[in-house]
C-alpha cells in the first residue's frame, strides 16, 4: 500500500512539472508580454532595461526555471490589473467558489443517487422513465442556458430569488460564507442548482446503471431468499456496492465542477475564481491566468491521487493488481 502510494505521488509530481511547463510556454511564449508592459513610444534603452528586469532576455529554459523556483515558494507574481500578489487574489476568491461547488456536488449526489437507485430498481415504471428523460436533458442542455432560464423564471418573472451576487455573508474561520445567512442562502440557491444539474444527471445515470447490474446478481437473490426487506437490500447491499464508483466520480467531479463554475459564476455574478479567470482573460492579466491554471492543474492531480489511493484502500484488488 505504501509502495503504491509513493509510486502514485511520484507520478503526480511528474505530471505537475509537465503541466507547469505547458502552461508557462502557452501563456508566456505565445504573444509578447512586453507589448502590454511597455508603451510603443518608449525609447530603445528603456525597453531593453525593462526586458532585462523581467528576465526576458534570458533563454526560455532559464526563464522557466526562475518561474518554477518562484512558484514553488508560493510566488506567482503580481496581477497587472489588481496590482496585488496573485496568490492573495486567488485565495481571496477561493471560498466563494468552494462554497458554490460543494453545494452543487453535494446536492447532486444527495438527490441524484436515490433517484438513480429508484430508476434502476424499477426501470419500467413511468417515474423511472421521467427520471431518465430528465437526466438526458441535464446532460444535453448547456449550463449557461439553464442559468439564463433559471434567472428568467425565478428572478425576473416570479421575483422569488435574487439574480446575482453573494448576498449577506457571515465570517467563519477567517473567511466570508453565504450559506450561514438566509439572504446568502437565497443567493446561493440558483447558482448551485445551475451548477448541480449536469452532475445530477451523471449521478442518476451512474446509480441507475450500478443498481440495474447489482439487482441481477446472486447477492440480491440470496438476500431476498433470506427474507430481507427490499429497502434493507437497497440500503445495505446495493448502496454499498455502487458506493465505489460514486466516490470516484464525486471526487473527480468536484474538480470539473470548479471548471464549470466559470460559466455559472459569470452568469450569476458570483464573485469567485471562475469570474476572476474570465476577467483576467478579457484583461490579458497573464500572471493571474498562469496561477489559476497551475492551481487548477494541482487540484486535479491531487484529486486524482487521493481518489486512486482511496480506491486502493476500498478495493484490495486494485492494490494488488497495481503493485504487483
Amino acid at each position: 500500500m505504501t509502495g503504491f502510494a509513493i509510486q502514485r505521488l511520484l507520478q503526480a509530481i511528474a505530471v505537475m512539472l509537465v503541466m507547469s511547463a505547458i502552461v508557462f510556454l502557452g501563456v508566456y511564449a505565445i504573444g509578447d508580454p512586453m507589448e502590454l508592459l511597455i508603451p510603443p513610444e518608449a525609447p530603445q534603452d528603456i525597453r531593453r532595461e525593462i526586458v532585462a528586469r523581467f528576465g526576458l532576455d534570458r533563454p526560455l529554459w532559464v526563464q522557466y526555471l526562475t518561474f518554477l523556483g518562484n512558484v514553488v515558494q508560493g510566488d506567482f507574481g503580481r496581477s497587472f490589473i489588481y496590482n496585488m500578489p496573485v496568490l492573495d487574489l486567488i485565495l481571496g476568491r477561493l471560498p466563494a467558489t468552494l462554497e458554490l461547488t460543494l453545494a452543487a456536488v453535494l446536492g447532486a449526489t444527495l438527490i441524484g443517487v436515490p433517484l438513480g437507485i429508484y430508476a434502476g430498481y424499477r426501470p419500467d415504471r413511468a417515474g423511472a422513465r421521467i427520471v431518465m428523460a430528465l437526466s438526458i436533458l441535464g446532460f444535453s442542455v448547456p449550463t449557461f442556458w439553464v442559468g439564463l432560464i433559471l434567472i428568467l423564471t425565478f428572478a425576473v418573472s416570479l421575483g422569488w430569488l435574487p439574480a446575482g451576487g453573494r448576498g449577506a455573508t457571515v465570517e467563519l474561520l477567517g473567511t466570508q460564507w453565504s450559506f450561514l445567512t438566509a439572504n446568502g442562502l437565497s443567493h446561493l440557491l440558483l447558482p448551485a442548482l445551475n451548477l448541480a444539474l449536469f452532475k445530477l444527471a451523471m449521478m442518476i445515470r451512474l446509480a441507475r446503471a450500478g443498481t440495474r447490474e447489482i439487482m441481477l446478481t446472486d447477492t440480491v437473490q440470496f438476500a431476498r431468499a433470506a427474507g430481507l426487506a427490499e429497502t434493507t437490500i437497497l440500503r445495505h447491499h446495493v448502496l454499498k456496492l455502487i458506493a465505489i464508483p460514486i466516490v470516484t466520480v464525486f471526487g473527480l467531479e468536484l474538480g470539473s465542477t470548479l471548471a464549470f463554475a466559470v460559466v455559472t459564476e459569470t452568469i450569476f455574478s458570483w464573485p469567485g475564481l471562475g469570474k476572476l479567470i474570465i476577467d483576467s482573460i478579457t484583461n490579458l492579466d497573464r500572471p493571474v491566468m498562469v496561477a489559476y491554471l497551475i492551481l487548477v492543474a494541482l487540484l486535479f492531480v491531487t484529486i486524482n491521487l487521493v481518489v486512486d489511493i482511496l480506491y486502493a484502500a476500498l478495493d484490495p484488488r486494485v492494490r494488488r493488481g497495481r503493485t504487483a
Binding site: T143, L148, N304
Partner: protein, 293 residues
C-alpha cells in the same frame, strides 16, 4: 437479427423501432436543411445593415416591422428579425460543430489507432498525454486556448479540436487494442502488406462503430462548447454571430423582461443539441452488444 438483410438495413430496422430516436433524427435533418438553406428562406438578411431599422429594435414577437412582414419571434437590439438571425446562427453553429467534430475525429482516431498498432514508447507517450488531458475538463481547456489563440473561426475550431480529440483517441485506442489481438490482424500482419495499409484498411473500419457514437456526442458537445465560449465573449468574432452570441446579446435585456432576444435562440440551440444526443444515444444502445436484447 434477420439473417439475409445487409447489416445497414438491419441497423436501420432496429433504429426505426425507437420512435423518439426517429423524431430526433428528423429534427436533426430538418435543422441541417434549415441551416444550409438559411439565405434562401430567411425573411431578412440579418447582416445587411441597410435593411435594418432601429425603429424595429427590441420589438416583441408578432411585431410587423418596416419590411412589412411579421417578426414572429420579435427583433433584437439592432432591429434584426430573430427568425432570420436564428437561421443564420444555426448555420454557423452547425458548421463549427461539424468541422470541430470532424478534425477531432481524424486527429484523435489516427493517434489512438497508431498508438495501439505500433505500441512501445509511442503508445505509452500518446496515451499518457491523452489520459492527462481527459482528467482535465474540456471546457477549461477550450476556454484557455480560445483566449490564447484569439478570436476567429480557425482559432476557435483549433481550440475545440484540442479540447476534444482526446475522447476520440481514447475510444479508438480501446477499440484498436481489442481488434489488434484478433486473428485477422495477425493474418494481415503476416502478409507483406504495409503497416499503413493494415491500419487504414483493416483496423480502422473495425474500430468505426464506437467512434461514430463518440462523434455524434462530440459534435453536440462542440456546438454546446462553442455556444458557451461565444456567450462568455471568447468565441467567434462579432461578424460571425452564432447562437451563443445571439443569446449573449440578449442577456442584458432579459432583466427588463425582453426575454425573446435570448430565449428563442436558446431554444433552437437546445433542440439541436438534445436531438443530436438522442440520435447518438440510440446508435450507442444498438452498437453496444451488452445492451442488445
Amino acid at each position: 437479427m434477420s439473417g439475409g438483410a445487409s447489416p445497414l438495413a438491419t441497423f436501420w430496422g432496429n433504429f426505426v423501432e425507437n420512435r423518439v430516436a426517429v423524431v430526433a433524427l428528423a429534427v436533426v435533418v430538418a435543422i441541417l436543411v434549415l441551416a444550409v438553406a438559411a439565405p434562401l428562406i430567411a425573411p431578412q438578411d440579418p447582416y445587411d445593415l441597410a435593411g435594418l431599422s432601429l425603429l424595429d429594435a427590441r420589438r416583441g414577437p408578432g411585431h410587423v416591422g418596416a419590411g412589412g412582414y411579421v417578426h414572429w419571434l420579435g427583433t433584437d437590439a439592432q432591429g434584426r428579425d430573430l427568425v432570420s438571425a436564428i437561421l443564420y446562427g444555426l448555420r454557423i453553429s452547425v458548421q463549427m460543430g461539424l468541422l470541430a467534430g470532424m478534425f477531432a475525429l481524424i486527429i484523435g482516431a489516427s493517434l489512438g489507432i497508431t498508438a495501439a498498432y505500433l505500441g512501445g514508447r509511442l503508445e505509452s507517450l500518446v496515451m499518457r498525454v491523452v489520459d492527462l488531458q481527459l482528467s482535465f475538463p474540456a471546457i477549461l481547456l477550450a476556454l484557455v486556448l480560445a483566449a490564447l489563440l484569439g478570436q476567429g473561426k480557425g482559432q476557435l475550431i483549433a481550440a475545440l479540436v484540442a479540447a476534444q480529440y482526446a475522447y476520440f483517441a481514447r475510444t479508438a485506442y480501446g477499440a484498436a487494442t481489442a481488434e489488434r489481438r484478433k486473428d485477422y490482424i495477425e493474418a494481415a500482419a503476416a502478409t507483406p502488406l504495409s503497416g499503413r495499409r493494415i491500419v487504414f484498411r483493416h483496423l480502422l473500419p473495425n474500430c468505426m462503430p464506437p467512434l461514430i457514437v463518440v462523434a455524434t456526442v462530440q459534435i453536440a458537445n462542440a456546438i454546446a462548447l462553442e455556444a458557451t465560449l461565444s456567450f462568455l465573449g471568447l468565441g467567434l468574432p462579432v461578424t460571425e454571430p452564432s447562437l451563443g452570441m445571439l443569446i449573449s446579446n440578449g442577456f442584458p435585456y432579459m432583466m427588463s423582461g425582453r426575454y425573446w432576444i435570448s430565449v428563442y435562440p436558446g431554444i433552437a440551440l437546445v433542440v439541436l443539441i438534445v436531438a443530436i444526443n438522442l440520435v447518438g444515444d440510440q446508435i450507442r444502445d444498438q452498437i453496444n452488444p451488452r445492451l442488445r436484447r
